[in-house]
């Protein structure tokens, strides 16, 4: 293997674990609050995104990796979002077509 000198900073994983755990609980609570559907979906999606970032950046050490790896990792997410936004208008269009 090439050089194994590790450029990963130390970090407090217990705290990280706690944060993500709280976010999970938070999502469940939000889903139980009986808010209007859109708000709850928004909130849950937001919390989920935060967890996603925490896991990716800290657990998987992405924030210590060089630019290229960040590019690759985030591009994969970007293209999927692109796909969703590209197709969403199509799937949303269907009900109104049926009822014509």
């Amino acid at each position: 293997m090439a050089d194994e000198k590790d450029y990963h900073g130390k970090q407090n994983y217990v705290m990280l674990l706690g944060m993500i755990g709280l976010l999970v609980i938070g999502m469940v609570v939000v889903s139980k609050l009986g808010l209007s559907r859109n708000t709850s979906v928004m909130l849950i999606a937001g919390l989920g995104a935060v967890q996603f970032y925490l896991v990716l950046a800290n657990l998987m050490h992405l924030k210590y990796e060089p630019a290229l790896i960040n590019l690759v990792a985030y591009l994969s997410v970007v293209f999927i979002l692109l796909f969703i936004f590209g197709v969403a208008p199509d799937t949303l269009m269907i009900p109104l077509k049926i009822t014509e």
Binding site: A2, S76, F79, F83, G86, V87, P89, D90, T91, M93
Partner: protein, 562 residues
């Protein structure tokens, strides 16, 4: 790994972890399948020209058989011929050699990906033997047809798995997995194992293009793998992802399919352009015109390629506003390719052009690919695609893109690197004969189809007798000419095999650098030993320093020389 160590026959030729042998395995497998696919094409071309003829091996074609041949012709040519030859074969051979590396980053992974590929090929062949014959749904596998054909909802899932459609989907998924692993290998190798002193712009354009192709593949194939699994489940577990009768949405599959299916075209196109950008400077003895910009444009085209997919679905019933957006992006993508083609053409001016066989093939590639390229504008324009979609205009268009890419580009690369791969030269005379016959075959076959397509002759019809306007005299003539062309195209490849056999028996020895080229692969012996380079080369300059005034004596300046 250490250079030059003894290997048993099996570990050297069969379970080889040497990138050069894996490249040869890919290429040979690809050529075999290209031959099978070609025979399929000849068979249904004969049916089109002379309906109801009893064709040897396949018999008289009815609608089902015809659809099956068309479907598997496309599938084989795309996934089991173009991909292994132009991506896996070319990449495995050139990337380590041109970067001055001793092998791929993960040789064992490399071997694994070839063997997965071979398994996928075997599954494909099995799909022909399944009850009901192979898949006959068109290569796009649009559900609900693909989700229900030959499927018995009450039978258990093994029965439904043992059908042409299911096996084909399985084979495609396996093939993608193999190419994905191979792609990881390409990228890691090109990033980590470049020769000492090789900066990004010293990397030859073909390696750039291969990596771009791999990136496009990696980021676009996921949705189709997911979609293929869902389609398979629709077939074997009676789920309803795509079948409206079970509550699904057939258009969703089309999106999943084309999100991959369009970048796939660039996955095979970019390596071909890369081959051109290697061969042209070598035989014009000139630097590649605006090398940096060609790379930049290739990168941008690789990105735009990800957001044009829906132009295959203009008439599929998608949201019309979306169609307008995708029409614009589709026509925008012509800009980077226009630039690349202009730059390539500019490279010829003021050179010392020697039209050896590889150069001849590349000239053919440029001219014929131009035809395919400009006719792409017609179809990219949603307004006219409404009429031309699914007619022979489309067929002619994509045969004018893919045959130049895979045949002309790929074979040019083959003639160019064959001396390096085997140490023997190929015969110039036979090579030129091969070129002219192939060129005649292509144009006889594809060009007339533009006209019959314009009259609205729609595709995938096994017998036009039910359509009066399609039975007029000149269209019948067009079908005959096209069929003769297809037969010539197929027969011309025999010259190719003859050429290879002759060179294997009595080809003249190729030196280390028969074409007087700059890039690093020509530093190694031909054929390069296991481990490629006796001493790892160091890179001092860009790959296209031909006729540099600073260089006295010779008109080329290898990358590894001070």
């Amino acid at each position: 790994m250490s250079a030059h160590h003894e290997q048993s026959f099996l570990s050297k030729y069969v379970f080889s972890i040497d990138h050069k042998y894996i490249a040869k395995q890919y290429t040979i497998t690809g050529i075999i399948f290209a031959f099978i696919g070609g025979l399929f094409a000849v068979a249904f071309r004969i049916q089109l020209a002379w309906p109801g003829t009893d064709i040897p091996l396949v018999g008289v074609l009815d609608g089902m058989k015809y659809n099956m041949l068309v479907t598997n012709h496309a599938m084989i040519m795309f996934f089991w011929a173009a991909m292994p030859i132009l991506l896996a074969g070319l990449g495995n051979f050139t990337i380590p050699l041109m970067l001055g590396a001793d092998d791929m980053a993960f040789p064992k992974l490399n071997m694994l990906s070839y063997w997965i590929f071979l398994v996928s090929a075997i599954v494909l062949v099995l799909s022909f033997l399944a009850p009901g014959g192979g898949a006959a749904t068109g290569w796009t596998m649009y559900p609900p047809l693909a989700a229900t054909q030959n499927v018995d909802p009450d039978a258990n899932f093994l029965v439904n798995l043992w059908t042409g459609g299911s096996l084909l989907i399985l084979a495609v998924a396996l093939e993608f997995a193999s190419m994905l692993l191979g792609g990881i290998n390409f990228l890691v190798t090109s990033i980590n194992m470049r020769a000492k002193g090789m900066k990004l712009m010293d990397v030859p354009a073909v390696v750039w293009m291969l990596n771009l192709a791999t990136v496009d593949f990696m980021f676009s194939v996921g949705p189709l793998i997911a979609g293929a699994v869902m389609l398979l489940f629709d077939r074997i577990f009676n789920t309803g992802f795509y079948d409206p009768a079970r509550g699904g949405d057939p258009i969703l599959f089309q999106h999943l399919f084309w999100f991959f299916g369009h970048p796939e075209v660039y996955v095979v196109l970019l390596p071909a352009l890369g081959i051109a950008s290697e061969i042209i400077p070598t035989f014009t003895r000139k630097p590649l015109f605006a090398h940096k910009w060609i790379v930049i444009m290739a990168v941008s085209s690789a990105f735009i390629a990800m957001i044009v997919w829906a132009h295959h679905q203009f008439v599929a019933g998608i949201d019309p506003r979306m169609a307008e957006f995708f029409s614009i992006t589709t026509i925008i993508i012509s800009i980077p390719f226009a630039f690349i083609m202009f730059a390539v053409i500019a490279t010829f001016h003021g050179g010392q052009i020697e039209i050896k066989t590889p150069m001849l093939w590349i000239l053919g590639f440029i001219v014929f690919f131009y035809v395919g390229g400009v006719t792409g504008i017609f179809l990219g324009s949603a307004g006219f695609d409404m009429y031309a979609h699914d007619t022979y205009f489309v067929v002619a268009h994509f045969h004018y893109t893919l045959i130049p890419i895979v045949f002309f580009g790929g074979i040019a690369g083959f003639y160019y690197w064959f001396p390096k791969a085997t140490g023997k030269m190929l015969s110039e005379g036979l090579g030129k004969l091969h070129f002219w016959t192939t060129a005649i075959g292509l144009n006889m076959f594809a060009f007339p189809l533009f006209f019959s397509g314009l009259t609205g002759e729609h595709r995938r019809i096994f017998n036009y007798s039910s359509y009066e306007p399609m039975m007029v005299d000149w269209i019948l003539q067009v079908r005959h000419v096209a069929t003769y062309g297809a037969i010539i195209l197929a027969a011309a490849q025999l010259i190719f095999f003859l050429n290879i056999i002759l060179s294997a028996m009595s080809g003249e020895k190729a030196g280390k650098n028969p074409w007087k080229s700059n890039t690093l692969e020509w530093v190694a012996d031909s054929p390069p030993p296991h481990g490629n380079f006796t001493t790892p080369p160091t890179c001092y300059r860009g790959p296209y320093e031909y006729s540099n005034p600073k260089r006295s004596g010779s008109d080329f300046w290898p990358q590894n020389e001070q």
